[in-house]
């Protein structure tokens, strides 16, 4: 079996499997929190479309970009190798005619597709509830797909990074939390080129940049000191981060010997 065809089969197996876990259900529910927020905002901001657009951007920036996709990628990404070792199920995969990189690619694709789906659902419902008055404007859909594209790129980059951490370390979650909510949060506000050492910098560089606000006070704070990278470079950087960490994960997973507790 080629890596490609094997990865496709691994994807099929794990896409079914992962949808049934309690963890997925919990995260799917978590992804619907913005929907509740959108409903509440719509009730209180009835008729003020400018305010609702601002809430929509806040939800994207604060909830999805800086919390949801990180927490999803952290738990699903680190589990690509680690859950097989912890649950002692790795044996079922590595005693098959499947190259080890195909296991990484297949699981990565399955988990990313699931995370993308959960994110898209929460984003779409909350976004269109908050922008219901503008449903006839084509620009609204362009904005939505731009947001969604940024989040998908974020999911891929973070998941690849956390998959690498999960392959290197036994307890990757703690370091992942420090990275996701410590490093990523702090470094993005550093002036100069330091902020380019965070994934979120490239994600924010792809969003409409409005210095001095226009998207509400919170957004102005979040974008404070952002020195954006050009969109094309930002996309290339995110794709590069994904490719490099995924490749490193494959190399390591292939070379590493996993010893279960038994």
């Amino acid at each position: 079996m080629t890596i490609r065809s094997a990865a496709r089969e691994v994807f099929g197996f794990f896409f079914v499997l992962v949808r049934r876990t309690g963890r997925t259900r919990t995260f799917a529910l978590l992804g619907l929190i913005p929907v509740a927020l959108a409903v509440v905002a719509r009730v209180f901001l009835r008729g003020r479309s400018g305010d609702m657009a601002a809430v929509s951007t806040e939800i994207l920036m604060v909830f999805f970009l800086q919390f949801y996709i990180i927490i999803l990628a952290l738990f699903f990404g680190t589990s690509i190798a680690a859950e097989e070792v912890e649950n002692r199920t790795l044996v079922y995969l590595i005693t098959r005619p499947v190259p080890k990189p195909a296991i990484v690619f297949g699981k990565f694709a399955a988990y990313s597709a699931l995370m993308g789906g959960m994110t898209a659902l929460g984003l779409a419902i909350s976004f269109f509830i908050l922008n219901a008055a503008r449903l006839g404007e084509p620009a609204l859909y362009a904005t939505f797909f731009r947001y969604l594209g940024v989040l998908v790129l974020g999911i891929l980059a973070y998941t690849a990074f956390f998959a690498f951490l999960g392959t290197v370390l036994k307890r990757a979650i703690i370091l992942g939390l420090v990275f996701g909510f410590g490093w990523e949060t702090a470094i993005q506000y550093f002036p100069g080129s330091t902020q380019r050492f965070s994934i979120v910098h490239y994600l924010k560089s792809l969003l409409p940049y409005r210095p001095g606000g226009g998207g509400g006070r919170g957004v102005a704070l979040l974008l404070f000191r952002l020195e954006p990278t050009a969109p094309l470079l930002a996309v290339l950087a995110l794709v590069g981060i994904t490719a490099v960490f995924l490749a490193l994960t494959c190399v390591l997973f292939r070379a590493k010997e996993y010893l279960s507790e038994d």
């Binding site: 079996m1 065809s5 197996f13 079914v16 002692r88 044996v91 590595i94 005693t95 499947v98």
Partner: protein, 308 residues
């Protein structure tokens, strides 16, 4: 005959702990039993043979191909692991069929093969239940089903009979023997001699990471027979009983238990001693309450062989 599974100077350490030490072994077609107490190195050997572990020294190969990072090899190898570990949120059918996807079979064939494998292990009725809800015996059987579903030439089974009821064991033993009749190679591990004996006459004795002996079951039995046995007899009059065995050449040593009712006899000939006990009951009317053999197990045999 040519070896199907071969190990040459195979050694494996887990940090400072020795898992397997300089093992050289050739396993031919048919059933071979890997026999040894818990922690002897059986599972380590099987993990090396199935490419889960990388040898520190030496090589292990199936059909001449080294097993570490050789996925294509596993097209013809089936492995039933020992740990009770599964993807719990799938049904038995989904589990077996899902793993069959990795062989590149067409979708229809996957379904047929999975159904057949589950039928072989009597899980057809429960195939659509989640594995989470399976009993220990059912879990053991579905584990076996995934190992045979792709019709492997070489079957490696790590303690496959543990957790099965006597009927289940009998069925599985019959099934494994069927593989041998088809000319396949089966390597099966156990720490229970009668289980291995029921499966095969070819046995490899493993202890403390080393191969102690390799041969047929009668040879292993001979080793057991040659090993001095302890027979513990609880009786109303252990001293009178002991008096009957004094001077018996088959008796090496006798001691009395702290309870004052137990006589422990060390002998090289168990059958002779049991004959003497029967005579003591019938002729001298000595009441015997219990006879036990505290060291009648593999561990004792291994200790005897190691100490020899």
């Amino acid at each position: 005959m040519t070896a199907v599974i071969s190990a040459v100077n195979l050694s494996k350490w887990y940090g400072n702990v020795l898992g397997l030490n300089d093992v050289s072994l050739e396993i031919e077609a048919g059933i071979t039993g890997l026999l040894g107490p818990n922690g002897a190195g059986k599972s380590t050997f099987m993990k090396l043979a199935t490419g889960q572990l990388k040898p520190n020294i030496g090589t292990v190969a199936i059909h001449g191909r080294r097993t570490w990072n050789a996925p294509d090899l596993f097209r013809t190898v089936g492995f039933c692991p020992e740990p009770d570990a599964f993807y719990e949120d799938v049904t038995g059918f989904e589990f077996v069929a899902g793993l069959l996807r990795f062989y590149g079979f067409p979708k229809k064939e996957i379904g047929e093969r999975a159904a057949r494998a589950l039928d072989i292990v009597d899980l057809s009725k429960d195939r659509d239940r989640l594995i989470r809800g399976y009993s220990r015996g059912m879990r053991q059987r579905v584990k076996f089903a995934q190992a045979i579903a792709h019709d492997p030439e070489v079957l490696i089974l790590d303690e496959p009979l543990s957790g099965l009821d006597p009927l289940g064991k009998r069925k599985l033993i019959k099934l494994i023997k069927g593989f041998k009749d088809e000319g396949r190679t089966v390597l099966v591990s156990s720490h229970v001699l009668p289980e291995i004996e029921a499966l095969t006459s070819q046995v490899v004795l493993v202890h403390q990471g080393k191969v102690l002996a390799q041969g047929d079951v009668p040879y292993i039995r001979d080793l057991i027979e040659a090993h001095p046995h302890m027979i513990s007899v609880r009786s109303s009059d252990p001293r009178r009983l002991a008096a009957r065995f004094v001077g018996d050449p088959a008796v090496l040593k006798m001691t009395f238990g702290a309870d004052g009712r137990t006589l422990v006899v060390e002998t090289r000939n168990r059958d002779h001693l049991f004959g003497g006990l029967t005579a003591a009951v019938l002729e001298a009317g000595i009441e015997v309450e219990e006879i036990s053999s505290p060291d009648d197990n593999l561990q004792a045999v291994f200790e005897y062989l190691v100490g020899k």
